[in-house]
C-alpha cells in the first residue's frame, strides 16, 4: 500500500504545504507534492506520506465510508500519486485498529468526524493550553469544528488531534458543542417571489404636453416690463437712470 486518501484526514499535500515543507508554485498550479519548491529530502517526504497513509487508514475506520476506490499500481493515476516505497496493508490495518482502540479507551473519547468541540466556559483560549498542539486546538475550537476540521487547519493527523481533544475534554479545557443555528439576513423574513414580467412598451407616467412659459409666471416684477427698452434711445435713458 503506497497511499491512502480520504476526505476524512489531511493528505500529504496539506501536511507538506501547511507546514512550509513545500512552498506552492507562484500564480497557480495544484501545489501537489511534485509542484512548487520542495524543502524536504526524499526520506522526509516518504515519512510524511506514510504518516498520512496511517492517519487516513485510522480516519476510515473511525468514520463512515460511502464509497471507495482501489487503484492498482500500474494505473497512471496511482503512479502519479504515490511513487513511494509502500507499506504492508496488514500492518496498516492493524495500526489503525490499535489507534481506534486506544482512542475509545480514553474516558472522554470523541468521534473525530462528528463531535463538535468548543472552548469550555471560563477558559481563556489565548492564555491556556500549554503544548503547541493544545494552543492551536484552543484557538480553533469554535463550536463549529470537529477533530477532522482542526487536523486540516493545523496540518496534524486526525488521530493526534482526536487524542488531544479527548484529553482536553477531561481537563475541562474543552466541551462538546451543539451546532449553532444559522443567522438570518435582511431578506430572510418572507418568501422570495419572482420579478413581475416586463410589459413591452408600457410606460409608468405618460408624458403630457411640454410645459409652456407664461409672462410673469415666474414671479417677475410687473413694473420691470414697463421699463423694457423699445429702441436704442431707451437704452441710453435707462443708462442715465442707473447712474
Amino acid at each position: 500500500m503506497v497511499a491512502v486518501r480520504t476526505p476524512g484526514a489531511p493528505g500529504p499535500e496539506t501536511l507538506l504545504t501547511r507546514t512550509g515543507r513545500i512552498v506552492p508554485p507562484e500564480g497557480g498550479g495544484r501545489g501537489g507534492e511534485e509542484n512548487g519548491v520542495r524543502k524536504v529530502g526524499i526520506a522526509e517526504l516518504e515519512v510524511v506520506r506514510m504518516v498520512s497513509a496511517y492517519d487516513a487508514a485510522f480516519a476510515i475506520i473511525a468514520g463512515s465510508v460511502e464509497d471507495c476506490m482501489l487503484r492498482a499500481g500500474d494505473e497512471p493515476q496511482a503512479q502519479e500519486q504515490a511513487p513511494g516505497w509502500g507499506e504492508d496493508p496488514g500492518s496498516l490495518v492493524r495500526e489503525a485498529l490499535r489507534r481506534a482502540d486506544a482512542l475509545i479507551a480514553l474516558p472522554h473519547a470523541v468521534l473525530p468526524h462528528d463531535d463538535l468541540v468548543a472552548v469550555a466556559a471560563g477558559v481563556d483560549r489565548e492564555a491556556e493550553g500549554g503544548t503547541p498542539i493544545r494552543r492551536e486546538i484552543l484557538l480553533l475550537a469554535d463550536g463549529r469544528r470537529t477533530c477532522r476540521d482542526i487536523a486540516y487547519a493545523t496540518a496534524h493527523g486526525v488521530y493526534a488531534v482526536a487524542v488531544e481533544v479527548s484529553r482536553m475534554l477531561g481537563d475541562g479545557l474543552l466541551e462538546r458543542a451543539v451546532p449553532g443555528e444559522p443567522r438570518l439576513g435582511g431578506a430572510g423574513e418572507g418568501p422570495i417571489l419572482p420579478r413581475r414580467p416586463v410589459v413591452e412598451g408600457a410606460v409608468l407616467d405618460p408624458p403630457q404636453a411640454l410645459p409652456r412659459r407664461t409672462p410673469g409666471g415666474g414671479g417677475v416684477i410687473p413694473s420691470r416690463t414697463e421699463k423694457r427698452a423699445k429702441n436704442w434711445a431707451d437704452f441710453a435713458r435707462f443708462r442715465d437712470l442707473a447712474k
Binding site: P7, T14, G31, D142, P182, L184, G185, G188, P191, I192
Partner: protein, 123 residues
C-alpha cells in the same frame, strides 16, 4: 420558512465531509440566511456571489453550455461553490482542502430543490 431553511443548511454541513459553512441569498445579493464562520463576512460574500453568479450565467449563455449548474472556485486552503436556487436565489457552500466535491454535488442537488421550494413558499 426559517426553521426548514436552517435545517437544510445544517444538514448539508453535517452530511458532506469538508463543508465548513453555507449561505443563501437572493439573486440581488441580499442575505437570506448564513451558516458561516465568524471570520467570513456573510453580507459581503452574498453580494460577491451574486455578482459572480451573474457573470457565470452569462458565460454559460454565450458559450452555449446549456442550463447553468454551479461555479466552483478553488484556493490553496479550500473552495467556494455557488449554486443557483431557481431563478431568484443562490446558495454558497464553503469547503476546506479535504472537501469531498463528488459528495457535495450529489448532496447539494436535492437540497437545492428543497431550499428553492422553501424560499418560494415562505410562511
Amino acid at each position: 420558512m426559517n426553521n426548514e431553511l436552517t435545517a437544510e443548511m445544517l444538514g448539508l454541513r453535517k452530511r458532506v465531509v469538508g463543508v465548513t459553512g453555507s449561505l443563501v441569498a437572493t439573486i440581488d445579493g441580499l442575505l437570506v440566511a448564513s451558516d458561516t464562520e465568524e471570520s467570513v463576512a456573510a453580507d459581503h460574500l452574498a453580494a460577491v456571489a451574486a455578482a459572480g453568479l451573474s457573470i457565470a450565467r452569462r458565460t454559460v449563455e454565450v458559450t452555449d453550455r446549456g442550463a447553468f449548474l454551479q461555479t466552483m472556485i478553488q484556493g490553496r486552503k479550500g473552495c467556494t461553490a455557488v449554486y443557483a436556487v431557481g431563478d431568484m436565489a443562490l446558495m454558497v457552500v464553503l469547503g476546506d482542502e479535504g472537501l469531498d466535491i463528488g459528495s457535495l454535488h450529489g448532496q447539494s442537488r436535492p437540497a437545492l430543490e428543497r431550499i428553492g421550494s422553501i424560499l418560494t413558499e415562505g410562511e
